[in-house]
Symmetry: C2
Subunit: 258 residues, 2 copies
């Protein structure tokens, strides 16, 4: 019964190819932005011709990370922003008392490091949740190119604003919704983001632990586990380790929407 769960298969197969290097931090200049399958979701979206070439020139450095590796750490000088090419990341804020809190999950196309711009140093840990790859965008390159290319400026500002909007939604979630709503909405939001990347609309693979989810949602991992079990018992979803199937999307939406 438990066999075969290849439901969430590869999305639009990107040009990333099979160059599975085992060397850490190995730069990869294989493919430019012009041929990248993510271009419509990345900061370069909307750019064409010479503008896109200039962007590609700036973003030609890539970096591979294995699961658990750190892309940046708090206090490190902000040199670059990063676009997730493949894989998943989480950011973890560590309070100076030692307590830590997952502040976000980042999928292909998402921009990492935006919160570091204000202080000039990274303020959280950026950690790969699976073997992943990022494009490196030198901060000064981004700013100077944004100065020259109005479309890029608009997009940069838009992305920053979108992050603020996203945080406000999460704030509302944490401040005024109970555990079941938080978990249901977390699943639906994540599935929606994966869906835009070409994955199934009613299945989901969680690259993060229950503990990560709990921290992100301001709950204990036990509570997250319990809520998942409850939703399962009610027939809203099926769970196999980290693979989730939405068996009744409408009722799940209803559970998330209040």
């Amino acid at each position: 019964v438990l066999l075969g769960h290849p439901i969430t298969t590869e999305p639009v197969p990107g040009p990333a190819g099979g160059s599975q290097s085992h060397a850490d931090h190995a730069p990869d200049h294989s493919s430019g932005c012009e041929t990248c399958s993510l271009s419509s979701g990345c900061l370069s979206r909307g750019l064409r011709g010479a503008d896109l070439s200039a962007f590609a020139e700036m973003a030609r450095l890539k970096r591979k990370l294995h699961r658990g590796e750190r892309l940046f750490r708090p206090g490190g000088a902000l040199a670059s922003l990063y676009v997730v090419c493949s894989g998943t990341f989480k950011t973890v804020a560590v309070s100076h008392e030692g307590r830590s809190k997952t502040t976000g999950f980042y999928l292909p196309g998402d921009l990492l490091g935006l919160d570091a711009i204000a202080a000039g140093v990274y303020v959280c840990d950026g950690i790969a949740l699976e073997d992943s790859e990022v494009c490196v965008l030198p901060m000064n390159g981004v700013l100077s190119l944004a100065s020259a290319v109005p479309d890029l400026l608009k997009e940069l500002v838009r992305v920053l604003s979108a992050e603020i909007t996203r945080d406000h939604r999460l704030l509302t979630l944490l401040a005024s919704m109970d555990a079941e709503h938080r978990v249901a909405r977390f699943f639906l939001d994540l599935a929606e983001r994966y869906h835009r990347l070409g994955y199934s609309k009613d299945a989901l693979f969680l690259h993060m632990t229950r503990e990560d989810i709990a921290s992100y949602l301001g709950l204990s991992s036990e509570t997250v586990s319990r809520i998942i079990s409850r939703l399962r018992r009610r027939g809203l979803l099926t769970v196999h380790h980290r693979h989730i199937d939405f068996d009744d999307s409408s009722r799940l939406t209803q559970a998330a929407d209040w």
Copy 2:
């Protein structure tokens, strides 16, 4: 004993003068950015000479609001960002289920409307908590000027990033700290912001209701009230209606810091 609490008096008296117009929405061209006492805290910070003049030209429109008036509402097309000149604002997110949540408080120098850029429409209510005044920054003007003036671009991006950082701090607060820490940190953060504006370091006037604070911190207003009483009973602060004195800043900091 209860007499006279003019502790939190006027900060660096601005050039705003006494033109107390009673006409709503009355534009005010009285003073330019060149002479504004807030210039060091506003988006124009760092600009000089022709750049500052161009900014002043763009931002010459002001708007006055009375307590309770709305600066913008969700769904309204994003035409402008607003810099608070004087007074205080809150932003309130209204979920489509009707539930509402205070997402931020804005003091002189703060920029309102940043979260609206991504969607192109305002996503929350902007409401004056006292008689207040804002500078109107037309969105297209901001973008085109940012294109031409690298310092302004940097500042715009910095301010956006700062808002993200602030939200992440609040997320951590809501997700992992108990009611007392939340309230104590709220007071200290607010006092710190007022302090940068020239107000006393260990006194605070709350322009918002307990209910607003509660909503912002993800608590009930009763809990906020109880926590304040508790802090008072322990001798950390003195309270007269909305005026707060920090009697023991170090212990209050300790209460906020875990």
